[in-house]
Amino acid sequence: MSAPAGYTPYHPRWYRRRVSVWWWLESRSYAGFVLRELTSIFVAFFALVLLWQVRSLAQGPEAYSRFLARLQTPLFLALNGVALLFLLFHSVTWFNLAPTAMVVRLRGKRVPDLVIAGANYAAWVVLSAAVAAILLRG
């Protein structure tokens, strides 16, 4: 009686399909999602550059000019260019998703999605303009 347990009406033999490693290439939205997740690496990259900048600032003017010179090398220009593209993708995709995650109710009515996304974009523009103003004046 060592026959393997076969199919019987009381012992279903399920078929389970394995998820392919390339599942994220199956549709455009999956690929967009994975790309959005990858943008976190570039967010971290910008944060690290900022920390590096603060450190060299603390070390004095010589260290700071060394930092600036390093940033102007082709490698860093290219890296920063790519990182900027990913960060834009990051910001735009998350701003577009914001209305789904944030439900704001005013006088019992749900604030329309466009208003919430629009408010996020408006805050982005205002903050960017403020930063640009500070930088350009200095």
Binding site: G6, Y7, P12, R13, W14, Y15, R16, R17, V19, W23, W24, E26, S27, S29, Y30, F33, E37, L97, T100, A101, M102, V103, G108
Partner: protein
């Protein structure tokens, strides 16, 4: 010759084969037919051995969810005329074990659904003599969208996280937890938060957003999960405050 359309249907007969195969059928092409009508035509006229689930034919029962041309859909709401030319691929819902042909086993979901206590939890029931629990239209509005779920599991089939992490409690179960959390008569949100803050709960979700796109009843499970995350995070921050308490 009346026009016909071919359906490439996934077959799996566990007593005969160890892996699914594809069988192609030619069915009459009618403008008012949905994929489910074509499957029923096959079952009645061409091949009685084909197995699939269906019941209401009108997007209420949630039984006829399948993968049509690669997308999780209700077959009763997928018109033949809306599909691109060529054979229409009909496969079982993704990420669930296939029992036979187009029938999947949904025990996993049913177990998870029960975990989130999808019913009204009261600390103390009001005596009958005091009458019913009243609710304003605004209070109804707060959860009505989430209550439209028909458990068709298209959202699970659309969720790559569920495919990769089968222990994830999943979109519909969390949306249904939210349905009761948002209900003014319910007092069980603390119990549900306890369950859904665990590793397999809402934090597994990385907001792919496909569940919301797949949902035929516009429940927006992705929205429910993100809103729940916000509640959970706010709750956690409050416990950090000296006056917050637990």
């Amino acid at each position: 010759m009346p026009p016909t359309v071919s359906l490439a249907v996934a077959r799996y007969r566990p007593e005969e084969e160890s892996e699914p195969s594809v069988q192609t059928y030619e069915v009459p092409f009618r403008k008012d037919w949905v994929v489910l009508d074509a499957l029923n035509y096959i079952k009645d006229k061409l091949d009685g051995s084909l197995s699939f689930r269906w019941s209401c034919r009108m997007g209420v029962c949630g039984s006829c969810g399948m993968t049509v041309n690669g997308q999780p859909r209700l077959t009763c709401a997928s018109f033949l005329s809306a599909e691109p030319p060529g054979p229409i691929r009909v496969e079982p819902l993704r990420y669930f074990p296939v029992v036979r042909d187009l029938v999947v086993d949904i025990t996993d979901f049913l177990t998870k659904l029960k975990k989130v206590k999808p019913w009204i939890v009261r600390q103390e029931e009001k005596p009958l003599a005091e009458g019913e629990y009243l609710q304003t239209p605004d209070q109804l509005d707060a959860y009505k969208q989430f209550s439209m779920c028909i458990n068709c599991l298209l959202c699970y089939s659309a969720c790559p996280i569920y495919g990769l992490e089968p222990t994830f409690i999943g979109p519909a179960a969390i949306a249904l937890a939210q349905r009761y959390n948002q209900d003014s008569r319910d007092e069980g949100s603390a119990q549900r938060l306890e369950i859904l803050s665990h590793h397999d709960g809402m934090w597994q979700c990385t907001f792919v957003g496909e569940c919301t796109k797949a949902c035929p009843k516009h429940v927006d499970p992705a929205g429910a999960i993100q809103q729940y995350k916000l509640t959970s995070a706010t709750h956690w921050f409050k416990t950090l405050l000296p006056w917050g308490g637990r």
